[in-house]
C-alpha cells in the first residue's frame, strides 16, 4: 500500500519536474537520450579498479541538476531506494579479494574494497543520469524520441499505453487492496488465495477495459495505425549539447584528470 501510493506520487513528481521550463528541458529529447547513452557507455567501460578517474564525471549530473532546477534531495532518496541489489552484489567483493593493493597512511586497502567503491560510483552515476533524463524530458517525450531514433513503433506505442493506464490501474489496485485491508486484521500483506483472487479481479477488469478502449478507438476511425501530431526539431543548441558533452566524456575517459592534477601538485610540493 505504502508502495502503491509512493509509486503514484513518484511518477507524478517526475512528471511535474519534467514540465518545468529550463535550458536543459528545452533541449531536443533525442539529443538527451543519445547523450545519456554515451555517458552510460563511457562509465561502464571503466575497469573495476579505477576510482579516481570516475569522479570528474559527476560534473555532468551536477551541471544538469543545477541548470534544470532539479532538487538534489530527490535524487539522493531515489538512489538509496534502488541500491540494494547492486550493493548486495558489490559488497561481496571486499570479502572475496582481500589482497592489499595500496596503503593510505597505515590503512591497507584491498582490491575487493576498491572494486566495491568502483561499483558504488558506477551505480550512482548511471542511476543519476537515467533519472535526470526522465526528469528533464518527460516520459512521453522520450517515447516519441525513441520512435524517431528507430525503436520499433509497436514497442513505443506499448510504452505510451502502459504509461497512460498505469495511473488508472494503480488507482484501481490501491482501491481494491484498501478494501482488502479493511477486511483483514493482521495488516501484514495477504495469503496466496486472497491475493490471487484480488489480482484475478484486477485482471478481469483490465481485460474489459482493454475491450472498451478498443471500441473507443474504433469509433474514432482507428485502423491499426496510431499517428500522432507531434513534431521535434533539431536545433543548433541541442546539437552543440551532444557534441560538447561527448567530447568532455571522451576526454575524461582517456585522461585520468584527478591523477594528472594530483601528480602535478605532488611534484610541485616536492
Amino acid at each position: 500500500m505504502a508502495k502503491i501510493s509512493s509509486a503514484l506520487f513518484d511518477i507524478g513528481y517526475i512528471d511535474t519536474l519534467s514540465r518545468q521550463n529550463s535550458l536543459i528541458h528545452g533541449i531536443d529529447t533525442r539529443v538527451k537520450v543519445l547523450t545519456t547513452l554515451v555517458f552510460l557507455i563511457t562509465i561502464v567501460s571503466f575497469k573495476t579498479h579505477e576510482i579516481s578517474s570516475l569522479f570528474p564525471f559527476f560534473i555532468y549530473p551536477v551541471f544538469l541538476i543545477i541548470l534544470a532546477d532539479l532538487p538534489f534531495s530527490y535524487f539522493v532518496r531515489k538512489i538509496i531506494i534502488v541500491s540494494p541489489f547492486a550493493v548486495l552484489i558489490g559488497i561481496l567483493n571486499p570479502f572475496i579479494d582481500q589482497t592489499i593493493v595500496l596503503y593510505i597512511g597505515k590503512i591497507g586497502i584491498s582490491g575487493g574494497l576498491i572494486s566495491f567503491f568502483n561499483i558504488l560510483l558506477r551505480f550512482i552515476l548511471t542511476v543519476l543520469s537515467a533519472l535526470i533524463l526522465v526528469a528533464t524530458s518527460g516520459f512521453n517525450n522520450i517515447c516519441i524520441a525513441l520512435e524517431k531514433l528507430y525503436v520499433p513503433k509497436m514497442l513505443v506505442i506499448q510504452l505510451l499505453f502502459i504509461y497512460r493506464y498505469l495511473f488508472v490501474l494503480i488507482k484501481e489496485a490501491s482501491q481494491m487492496s484498501k478494501g482488502r485491508k479493511l477486511r483483514t486484521f493482521n495488516g501484514k500483506g495477504m495469503g496466496i488465495k486472497v491475493y490471487a483472487s484480488l489480482i484475478g479481479h484486477l485482471l478481469l477488469r483490465a481485460l474489459n477495459r482493454a475491450q472498451r478502449i478498443h471500441m473507443a478507438m474504433l469509433s474514432r476511425g482507428f485502423d491499426g495505425e496510431i499517428r500522432t501530431a507531434s513534431n521535434m526539431k533539431f536545433d543548433k543548441k541541442s546539437f552543440l549539447f551532444f557534441i560538447l558533452w561527448s567530447i568532455v566524456f571522451l576526454i575524461m575517459r582517456i585522461y585520468n584528470l584527478p591523477q594528472i592534477v594530483g601528480y602535478f601538485v605532488v611534484i610541485i610540493l616536492k
Binding site: L166, K193, G200, L204, G224, I226, N256, P258
Partner: protein
C-alpha cells in the same frame, strides 16, 4: 533481481541489447501478422495491470516476508508468447526509466532474464508440453506452476552468467550460483502457485480467454538462434572493447605523464604492500626511494586529485547557480 548498469560490462550490455532488439523486431512483426488491432490496447492495459499487480504484495508462507508476481508466464498464457514478450519488454523499459529499477544499458539483460526466458523457453518447452488443447484444470495448474518456477530459475541463472561475464563483481560463478538459485527456488515456488491460482481464476471467470492467445506456437529453434546470436555479438563487442581502450591507453601513455597508466596497472596489483608500510599519507608523506615513488605518488596524487575534482565541481556548480539566478 533487476540487473543494474553498474554491474555489467559494455560488451555484455550492448550485445544483449542488440540481440533482444532483434527479438523485439521479430515479435512485433509476428504480432502484426497474427492479430487484429485490438491487440494494441490489450497489451497496453495488461502491461499496466502487471505493473500495478507487482505493487501489491502477498505473504510468503512460513517466512513472513512478501513477494509479487513476475508476470512473464501469466502473460504468455493469456496473450501468447510474442505479445507477452513485448509487453514485459515495455514494462521493464518503463521501470528502468521511471524508477531507475534496472539500468538502461542493462535493459537487454533484464529483457532476456525476465521476458525472453519465461516467454520463449519456459512457456513453449514446459507449459505447452504439459498443457494441451482441452487439458484439465489440474494440468493447467501444474503447468503454470512448473513453468513459473523454471522461468525464475533460468532468470536467476541469467543474472549470474551476465554478472560473471561482465567481470565487475568478482564473485566466482559457482558461489554466485549457489547463492542465487536456492533463494529464487523458494520465491519461484510461491510465485508459481500464485500465478497458477490466478490463471485458474481467470479461466473460470472468462472461459473465452483462449481467444486472446490463439498465438502461433513458438518456433522452438528461436532459443538456439538467440544463444548463438548472443555469443556471436558478445564476441564481437568484447573484441571491439578490448582492442579499443588498450590502443587508446597506449597512445595516451606516450603523450601524458609517463607511467601514469602503466604504473597503476602494474603496481597496484603487484607486491607493494611491504614497501608502503612505513609511509604515511598527509601531512608528512615522504618519498624515500625510487621504487616507492611511482606508486605512492600515484595513490597520493589520486587522493589529492580527487579532492581537487570535488572542489572544482563544487565551484562550478556555485558559479552556475549564480549565473542562472543572477
Amino acid at each position: 533481481m533487476h540487473m543494474a548498469d553498474a554491474l555489467i560490462s559494455p560488451s555484455v550490455g550492448c550485445s544483449m541489447l542488440a540481440v533482444t532488439g532483434a527479438v523485439i523486431l521479430y515479435s512485433s512483426k509476428k504480432i502484426k501478422e497474427e492479430f487484429d488491432d485490438s491487440r494494441i490496447p490489450l497489451m497496453g492495459v495488461l502491461g499496466a495491470f502487471v505493473f500495478a499487480a507487482q505493487m501489491i504484495n502477498f505473504t510468503i508462507p512460513l517466512t513472513g516476508s512478501s513477494g509479487h508476481i513476475g508476470g512473464g508466464i501469466l502473460l504468455a498464457i493469456l496473450i501468447g508468447p510474442y505479445s507477452a514478450f513485448l509487453t514485459i519488454t515495455s514494462i521493464l523499459t518503463i521501470q528502468a526509466l521511471l524508477f531507475a529499477d534496472g539500468g538502461i544499458l542493462a535493459l537487454g539483460c533484464n529483457i532476456f532474464n525476465l521476458g525472453f526466458l519465461p516467454c520463449f523457453v519456459s512457456y513453449p518447452f514446459v507449459y505447452k508440453n504439459i498443457v494441451k488443447e482441452g487439458s484439465s484444470k489440474t494440468k493447467i495448474f501444474t503447468g503454470a506452476t512448473i513453468a513459473s518456477v523454471l522461468g525464475l530459475q533460468l532468470g536467476a541463472l541469467g543474472v549470474v552468467l551476465e554478472t560473471v561475464f561482465s567481470e565487475i563483481s568478482i564473485l566466482p560463478f559457482d558461489k554466485f550460483l549457489i547463492l542465487m538459485l536456492p533463494i529464487h527456488l523458494a520465491i519461484g515456488i510461491v510465485e508459481g502457485l500464485v500465478t497458477a491460482t490466478i490463471v485458474t481464476f481467470i479461466l473460470n471467470a472468462k472461459p473465452d480467454i483462449n481467444a486472446y492467445s490463439y498465438a502461433p506456437s513458438v518456433k522452438k529453434n528461436i532459443f538456439a538462434i538467440f544463444i548463438v546470436a548472443a555469443l556471436f555479438t558478445a564476441g564481437f563487442f568484447s573484441w571491439f572493447a578490448s582492442s579499443l581502450p588498450d590502443g587508446l591507453e597506449w597512445s595516451i601513455s606516450n603523450v601524458t605523464v609517463k607511467e601514469e597508466i602503466s604504473s597503476k596497472e602494474e603496481k597496484i596489483y603487484s607486491s607493494l604492500s611491504n614497501l608502503q608500510e612505513k609511509t604515511s599519507f598527509f601531512p608528512d608523506y615522504n618519498f624515500k626511494n625510487d621504487k616507492e615513488q611511482g606508486n605512492i605518488g600515484t595513490s597520493v596524487a589520486g587522493l589529492i586529485g580527487v579532492s581537487i575534482t570535488f572542489i572544482t565541481i563544487a565551484l562550478i556548480s556555485l558559479i552556475l547557480k549564480k549565473l542562472k539566478d543572477g
